[in-house]
């Protein structure tokens, strides 16, 4: 890849530049439904969301994860990202801001590559944990 940054001296405890997106609008949920192929009405229609026991529409978990992914691909070129996983810890609703952060928790070598393991998370503006995950990136 063409990026010239040197990641080899990234240390354990280093933080990933945070990324905030929001407030998430209903329009964005509609656009993401179309673009992602997830047409589940609980993200689009309050009435149907309530029929499913929710207070109203909720944000797609995969939209939150896509935003968390942008924090990673904004930090290192996406070709350096080997693994990206996340647990969906809580639901988010329109109006929420998604705040993503990460911290390097380990460095190791595997198959001739220098890797960093990064603990990542997304929270809403109230500090509720929405996503808790891990990523592995190539740093050298």
């Amino acid at each position: 890849m063409t990026e010239e940054k040197d990641y080899a001296d990234i240390g354990i405890g280093a933080s990933v530049p945070t990324l905030s997106r929001g407030p998430i609008s209903r329009t964005q949920l509609a656009l993401f439904a179309g673009a992602s192929g997830d047409h589940n009405p609980i993200h689009l229609d309050d009435e149907q969301a309530r029929a499913g026991g929710l207070d109203g529409v909720i944000v797609h978990g995969m939209l939150m994860m896509a935003i968390l992914g942008q924090m990673l691909s904004g930090w290192v070129s996406q070709a350096r990202i080997k693994k990206f996983s996340s647990r969906f810890a809580a639901m988010s609703v329109p109006g929420d801001t998604i705040i993503c952060s990460g911290i390097v928790v380990d460095k190791r070598e595997e198959g001739g590559e220098k890797l960093a393991d990064v603990e990542i998370k997304a929270e809403n503006q109230k500090g509720d944990a929405l996503l808790k995950g891990m990523a592995t990136v190539i740093i050298g």
Partner: protein, 149 residues
């Protein structure tokens, strides 16, 4: 629980094929608020070292959605999808997925377990995505949680 495991553990679903289109990647990127030109402009992508416009990190999940892979397991297992939530999602990347690729995938049930004496059932699947050169592009790990009460 044991009956479910016996019947479904290790089950593989029919392979599927999806074409990755440039316009779809751009639409996806726009909908997640992504502004990096590598997702919109072939020249920007190739300048950055990609073969063509790359798919964003979570796009492979949409490849499986397009192929109807999110609900087929629940339907097969007779689970009401209103009781199911996406508990966890993981991606392992092997080769870039780019616009113009033809992706073939196959989903397999790799684990089924319960918590709280069967009140919650966890269905774990792996979906391998390969490209038109038979290279493994990505592996998706999904955990679906079913409330059984």
């Amino acid at each position: 629980m044991e009956a479910l495991r016996k019947r479904f553990l290790g089950k593989e679903y029919e392979p599927f094929t999806v074409e990755v289109e440039k316009g779809r990647i751009a639409q996806f990127a726009r909908s997640i608020g992504e502004g990096n030109p590598i997702y919109f402009d072939t020249e920007a992508a190739t300048k950055a070292g990609y073969r063509a416009i790359p798919a964003p990190l979570t796009f492979p999940y949409s490849v499986t959605m397009d192929a109807g892979q999110s609900f087929n397991v629940l339907e097969d297992m007779g689970v009401d999808k209103n009781r199911a939530v996406h508990g966890e999602q993981g991606f392992t990347y092997h080769h870039d997925i780019c616009a113009g690729d033809t992706i073939t995938g196959q989903q397999k049930i790799v684990d089924i377990y319960d918590k709280k004496s069967g009140a919650m059932i966890f269905i774990v699947t792996e979906t391998r995505l390969s490209n038109q050169h038979d290279e493994l592009a990505a592996n998706l790990h999904s955990v679906i949680v079913v409330r059984n009460t």
